[in-house]
Amino acid sequence: MSQFFVSLLLILLGGLCSLFLVKQAKFARTTTVFLLSAGCFLGLIDAVTKLVQSGTAATSFKYLNVFSLTFQIDGLSAFFLVAIFAVSLLSAIYSFHYMDNSENGMKTAVNYFFFSILIASMALVVTAANMITFMLSWEIMSLSSFFLVIYKHNSSESRRAGYLYFIFSHVGAMFIFAAFGIVYGYTGSFGFGGMDSLPETAKILVFIFTFIGFCTKTGVFPFHVAETASIPVAPCHVSAVMSGVMIKTGIYGIIKIYVLLDFPTPLFGNIVLVTGVVSGILGIVYALGQQDLKRLLAYSSVENIGIILIGLGIGMIGVSSQNPLMAVLGFTGGFLHILNHSIFKTLLFMGAGMVLHKTGTRSIDALGGLLKNMKITGTAVIIGSLAICGLPPFNGFVGEFFIYIAGFKGVSLDKSAFIMSIIGIVSLALIGGLALACFTKVIGIAFLGEPRTKAAVNVDEKGPSMLLSMSILACACVLIGIFPKLILWMPVKAVSALGLGIGRVPPEPFGQMAGNITFAAVVFLVVVILVIAIRWFFYRNKIIGSAGTWGCGFSQPTVKMQYTGSSYASFILDFFRPAAPLSEDHPKITGRFPLKTYYKSHVNDIAELHMNRVIVNPVLFLFDKLRWIQHGDIHLYIGYILLAIILLLFFI
């Protein structure tokens, strides 16, 4: 454990450094990034070794002589620590040049300070071994990310997003508190152990409460509103960490509670699977409708969390229907997708960061033709997009392949498991197709074609540290896609550490499946090389001309005539109209010589639409009626506190 705490100390020290050295901005940034990277690197090595040895380590501290703060690293924690430290390491490196021309030194320093706290608290969340420790770390994580979200506190968009995020985090935490309260009521201890001795109804209640609580952090539909608002407004290296790993601490919580409850009811699996399906499909539909690049990526996280939940749900159904292979494959697929998603989503956010850095706009429809001058960024984003669409030979495919195989195992089961498996498989297929549409939009509109506005003309890509982290991640996407064995052992170890009551995890099918993927990927690459050779053969000594794009006879094309992202997506969004209503705003065109006009469209998120109507307005109405309590007289406030305590004494 000591190495783990040393790495956390280094990370926190880095954060403090940036605060203390705020006067020497450049020096401060160098030291901070160095310390952060060193800490993350140490932590990464520690986590990987812990995962290899598959042992557990635990430490305990007494805090205020009342609560004991207990930390434990087991297979599951080590697995998540790998993702947390790896992504944070690369994001810290990336931030070195990303925060380069920040106008305000103090803002940067504060940002780094909370960034370091966020990394450390995420690591603490996944290692916490009792409820107090867990909630403490959880709150620190929520608060530090809140301060990162309001980085641009002078823009109203950021403030609104931060506010939403704050409320959602705390409502979610309240649900988790409630669940832990139930557990404490039965077991009388703050430890995680003993949850399996709860009566069945209590178990179901605890699972549902924690599920809702963790879903608000994970950004599952319909709790994604805060995530999709806040992730885009944070600086890009923070978005990368938040979207890449922070939201997955929620997944960690769901798995942890599921394992602790040790209650193989099909209900849990069904809940998780259906939530995954809804959030997967709607997440990618809304992503498709976004014009803001970072918001699109945030919605696509909702989708990928959906895929992960589909995998976990299938795994849970496998556990409840006593099908070990289905269970292990489902969980492994979900875990693989956790790792893979943190790789390609971080990569895509970094790419978006580079675009934002150089063009100053997040609007996809204002970009175009970026690939011509942003060769490395463009290639990296294309690789990331291919990976996120789940296409072979990139890493996104590997996790989805395992989830598919697990789902098909469920097809041969009885009725409810059969229906659930069908839903899982078909929605995975739908999500795959929609993701392809969504990311061809990103690539096609932002990176290909011609620049649509001045912002996108003649942009370059500079910042070696940014390019370095993107290249590393892009290489990882390709390498893992071709050789899944490189990381497959991690999920397998983590799943076997879960102890799902299905005995030892047989390693044979995994090795074989990974081998098949490698083999098929190599076949495809060989064919590609063959076709390239054929093409080269036919192009020897040929005249290659160049001319403008064929405009079907029209000889005065302008860049404005290109297809926009909104029109590209409109066909598909039409199909999903009930779930994604479109609001349009344009004046009617009249007369023979119409004046200059405009067209605005916005794809509405039904969760956002109904949140106001169903929750916010009634709550406001209620609190408006209670406003008289809030009169500003301090004496009476102290009286309230006394009254509350006395009342509580009566009841307890």
Binding site: G369, F401, S412, L430, G433, L448, A520, I572
Partner: protein, 306 residues
Amino acid sequence: MIESILLWLLAVLMAPFFSGAILKVKAFFGGRKGPPLLINYYTLIKLFKKGSVYSTSTTLVFRLGPIISLASAATVLMFLPIAGHQPIFSFNGDIIFILYIMGIGRFFTIAAAMDTASPFEGMGAAREAYFPIICEATTFMILIFFYRLTGDLQLSAYFTGDNTIGLWNLAGAPLLFVVISFFIVLLTENSRVPVDDPATHLELTMIHEVMVLDHSGPDFGLIELGSFCKLFFYSTIVSRLILPFDLGFFWLNFGLYIAGLVIVYVAVGVTESVIARYRMDKVPQFVLTSFALAFFATIITLEFIK
């Protein structure tokens, strides 16, 4: 193994011929003589002899488009049992890999179209991204059906030897639904009437053809060959499904297979001759029909096949 490789080569070489046969059928219905049966070979040779003109808007992605789309179609054929014979490669779950490899072909076709900055190609790309989504759902529904029957997840378990006739014996009636449903997927995925009209002359109404407007010379040849191979892939499966018999001798099976292919391609030609293409907003309903059919077939298996 050698035989499988030879069959694969034969498939790639035969694919243009059958696509030419569709033109002949259409010409017959139109009362015309039609182009020669080998027209597609002449076109390919002509294209491969030429040079190319590239749009100044394009990047490397535009050049990758034809390469990846042909490579994906050719790879897919390697996993396909041709004439009931073992395919070159086969493993558990290969069908999922195949479907996703087709996805990467589509990704690059769309990306290449968007790379030209042409409004028409963008429109085609948007449609190309849309319709296959429903097709994919249908295909996976059909896979669930096959998995329910055989417990296997590879093409060779469905289409080699007497496996196909086994499927018919097990669930003949629902399999009829599946054949129709898969034929609809064939029409949609390969941009045939009533989803798309490959012979139309108006760019606004095209899907696949408009996406490749800017490709020329050998690049265009690769794309054409790729789309012939793709159609051949789907036709082979339908052919095997409608004539599932295993006659014991390789050449008899091969003859049977060719007969099946002729039936499928003639059916495509007849469809193209007798119905008009649907309005764009009607197409999703047509494609959804295929999903509904596959879904019914699968639900029936739940009751009857234990």
